[in-house]
């Protein structure tokens, strides 16, 4: 091959390259336009609004860093951040482990795979409001099915969505029930692990657990990382289930407007997005809500970067590269 560094490309070749670029750009245009309109612009506008006083009706007025400064004296914001961090840690771990566990069991089933796979996936298609209300009714103290079942064993059921200590675990249970989408992705990854690797491990004397640990897990680790990132983002954006569980717990699931008690009980379901919505649409302070959204974006972005870098490092280590 001859190096042609510094040589001027022939005019015909340059035109062809430009035409090629235009063709590529043409094919990518719908995606690029969609990205700019529905992600780029809202993102930049949110950052801009975060430096303004904006009541949704009148033009935003620049107010410098006032919105960010107010975050330090807002008692509910601290609570909302703590609640969301709880979900980021607990929900991420629980959802990934749960989906991995269910997928691993389904992958080993000999019969009825199709039916069980469908049954495990179906709840993820339920609308979040309906799924939450179903869980509320099932877990309802004083007469709910779970309460009656625990009563048979002489156990008092928790108050779930009426007890600040149990409301978040209750919502986590809902999120696990509807985690069939992640389960299907992990199941596909498990089924995609080359059979030869299992056979080689078996020849080396590895039992089922060691095969799962040393063959399945490393091979599907990129998919697991996707599951973790997906779960972190889901936890950071948790809204509908928190609103419905809080409203139903306070006895106002069927109420409208400001009679809905967001955050019930004792603000334990007041997640960052719920508080953001409250500030923007119930207190009409979209500038502050935008500042909160900007902070949420920066945190989500940072967490994702850290996780992706970690994955890359692990992949390099698995492949025997530097650092192995």
């Amino acid at each position: 091959m001859t190096a042609t560094l510094g040589a001027r490309p022939a005019p015909g070749r340059g035109r062809a390259r430009a035409r090629h670029r235009l063709t590529v750009l043409g094919f990518m245009a719908p995606a690029i336009i969609g990205f700019v309109l529905f992600f780029g612009y809202p993102l930049v506008a949110t950052v801009v609004f975060s430096f303004t006083k904006y009541d949704l009706i009148n033009a935003p007025e620049f107010n410098g860093l006032d919105n960010y400064a107010y975050m330090f004296k807002d008692p509910l914001l601290t609570k909302a951040i703590a609640n969301t961090l709880w979900f980021v840690v607990v929900l991420t771990i629980a959802r990934t482990v749960f989906a991995l566990g269910v997928a691993s069991v389904i992958a080993r089933l000999k019969s009825g795979v199709g039916l069980i796979r469908t049954l495990c996936y179906l709840p993820s298609l339920a609308p979040p409001v309906a799924a939450t209300l179903v869980f509320f009714m099932v877990l309802r103290p004083n007469g709910g099915p779970v309460d009656n079942l625990l009563g048979v064993f002489g156990i008092d059921s928790p108050l779930w969505f009426s007890d600040p200590a149990w409301a978040k675990p209750g919502i986590t249970a809902i999120m696990l029930w509807i985690s069939g989408d992640l389960m299907i992705i992990i199941l596909a990854a498990i089924l995609d692990v080359p059979q030869e690797q299992y056979e080689a491990a078996e020849l080396d004397g590895a039992g089922p657990i060691r095969r799962w640990w040393h063959v399945t897990l490393p091979t599907i680790s990129p998919v697991l990382l996707f599951g973790i990132v997906n779960s972190v983002i889901l936890a950071l954006q948790l809204f509908t289930q928190a609103v419905v569980a809080g409203s139903a717990g306070s006895g106002a699931a069927d109420a409208t407007g400001s009679t809905k008690y967001l955050g019930f009980p004792d603000n334990s379901t007041l997640t960052f997005p719920v508080y953001l919505y409250t500030q923007g649409f119930r207190y009409f302070d979209m500038g502050y809500a935008a500042a909160m959204a900007t902070v949420l974006f920066v945190i989500s972005f940072a967490v994702t970067i850290v996780l992706v870098q970690r994955m890359r490092k692990n992949s390099t280590a698995e492949e025997g590269g530097p650092g192995a």
Binding site: V44, V48, P60, S258, L262, F264, D266, F284
Partner: protein, 445 residues
């Protein structure tokens, strides 16, 4: 690398420039909020008025019938009523230019924002032009339909809150008359409460939990003579009424035991369902609006109930009550503001229309004439609410520019205080005052 950085910076700069340009459009489209009165439509003008409300099902049908009565005055105007439209949708409509001509809102907590932001157009010019006598409406109702002297809404019926009591349970417990003072309420609650041998509550005489059903600080405040603000500042800590409200709530919660009460409350039905605790005979006394009379007759006809003014801290205050209700306004950018005002005026002051709608959806009429109308169907239970609505002791919803942030702050504090988490009442109320003032200062209104 440097090339990539430069490209990224250019992208960000372009994005910022675009966003800054577009944010200028973020304030909504269409006509602005004019302080002049638009002309009333002529008899030959063919036009369609769009009305948005949050009504649904049977109530939607009844309100639609009431809207159609406008055609007697203006047969040339077609009315298009769209239900299930909450305040979020009204705000989004104003911002996008898809604005209704008349917006009906259930959320009087938002009137401060509607008036101060111009989301609802000022009505002063219309009222002066048409020489409308606002004294036909009680002062309390006038209070919750304006903000700092800017009237941007009119009432369409009102809700008035009072005490409901289960007559059978009262007589079985030996409570001969509805309580009038807080001490009497406490004693009645004790007598009416039934506990299982293990301490579980089976029936609560009166359920005090703040935030549950109609136990909202705004609704309870008049019974305690509690004042929300003084000299433009939140005044909970300096209001003896709020101290008394919290003390009374805690006394009741301590009687039941916070944990036992929470276990009992967690098993009760939703507020607007047939499982409501009062419908099921699980609570004997409660605070609620006049609309509950219709719910009870439809969903729990077996319950024999009575109504009376809610007991008060000071005997002289007996007969006071809280009122709020549906509000009507002309949103910013409405295409037919002149005709919209005519419709609002009709719904606000046409006695027959108000009476028919009140009879249909069992809300209290908002004008004195309608309350006196012989056509108004008033039974024994509903009469309590009419009497309270006529009283000069009636108190309106406190209006702020921060939605219901102040109500949430007090509700949260009440739960913390009654559960024993916050021991210092005075310091706690001062903290709530500070939070409310900070929030209002942040709004800049």
């Amino acid at each position: 690398m440097r090339k990539h950085t430069r490209a990224a910076l250019l992208c960000v700069a372009a994005g910022m420039a675009t966003a800054l340009t577009l944010t200028a459009c973020a304030a909504g489209k269409g006509g602005g909020a004019s302080s002049d009165a638009a002309a009333a439509p002529g008899k030959d003008d063919k036009l369609t008025l769009t009305v948005w409300s949050n009504y649904s099902d049977r109530e939607y049908e009844e309100v639609t019938k009431a809207l159609k009565t406008f055609n007697k005055k203006f047969p040339n105007i077609e009315i298009k009523h769209e239900g299930s439209q909450d305040d979020d949708k009204i705000t989004a409509g104003i911002r996008s230019g898809n604005t209704p001509d008349v917006a009906l809102s259930f959320t009087t907590d938002n009137i401060g924002q509607f008036c101060s932001s111009g989301a609802f157009q000022p009505l002063k010019a219309y009222i002066e032009r048409d020489k409308v006598d606002l004294n036909q409406i009680s002062p309390a109702v006038r209070e919750y339909t304006e903000y700092k002297g800017n009237r941007c809404a009119m009432p369409m019926l009102t809700d008035v809150y009072a005490m409901y009591y289960n007559k059978d349970m009262m007589s079985a417990a030996g409570v001969t008359a509805p309580p009038k003072t807080l001490d009497e309420l406490f004693e009645a609650a004790k007598k009416l409460t039934k506990k299982a041998p293990n301490g579980d509550i089976e029936v609560a005489g009166y359920l005090p939990t703040m935030g549950f059903y109609a136990n909202r600080p705004t609704i309870l405040a008049p019974s305690f003579g509690a004042e929300w603000e003084k000299d433009g500042k939140s005044a909970l800590a300096s209001s003896p009424g709020f101290t008394e409200m919290m003390t009374f709530q805690k006394k009741l919660v301590d009687f039941y035991g916070f944990d036992a009460l929470e276990r009992f409350r967690a098993g009760l039905g939703q507020e607007y369902s047939a499982d409501h605790a009062f419908h099921q005979g699980k609570i004997a006394i409660m605070m609620d609006g006049e609309y509950r009379t219709a719910f009870l007759k439809a969903q729990a006809p077996q319950i024999k109930f009575g109504t009376a003014p809610f007991p008060t801290w000071k005997p002289a205050d007996y007969g006071t009550a809280f009122t709020t209700g549906t509000i009507m306004g002309i949103p910013k950018g409405a295409k037919n503001p002149g005709a919209a005002w005519e419709l609002i005026k009709h719904l606000s002051f046409d006695t027959d229309t108000i009476v028919d709608l009140s009879n249909a959806i069992k809300n209290v009429p908002s004008t004195k004439a309608a309350m006196e109308s012989p056509k108004l169907e008033v039974d024994e239970q509903f009469k309590t609410f009419i009497d309270l609505a006529k009283s000069d002791k009636l108190k309106g919803n406190p209006v702020t520019p921060i939605g219901d942030a102040h109500i949430k702050a007090v509700t949260d504090f009440a739960v913390s205080y009654t559960s024993g988490k916050v021991p210092d009442l005075a310091a706690g109320l001062k903290e709530v005052d500070k939070n409310i003032d900070d929030q209002i200062a942040k709004s800049g209104k």
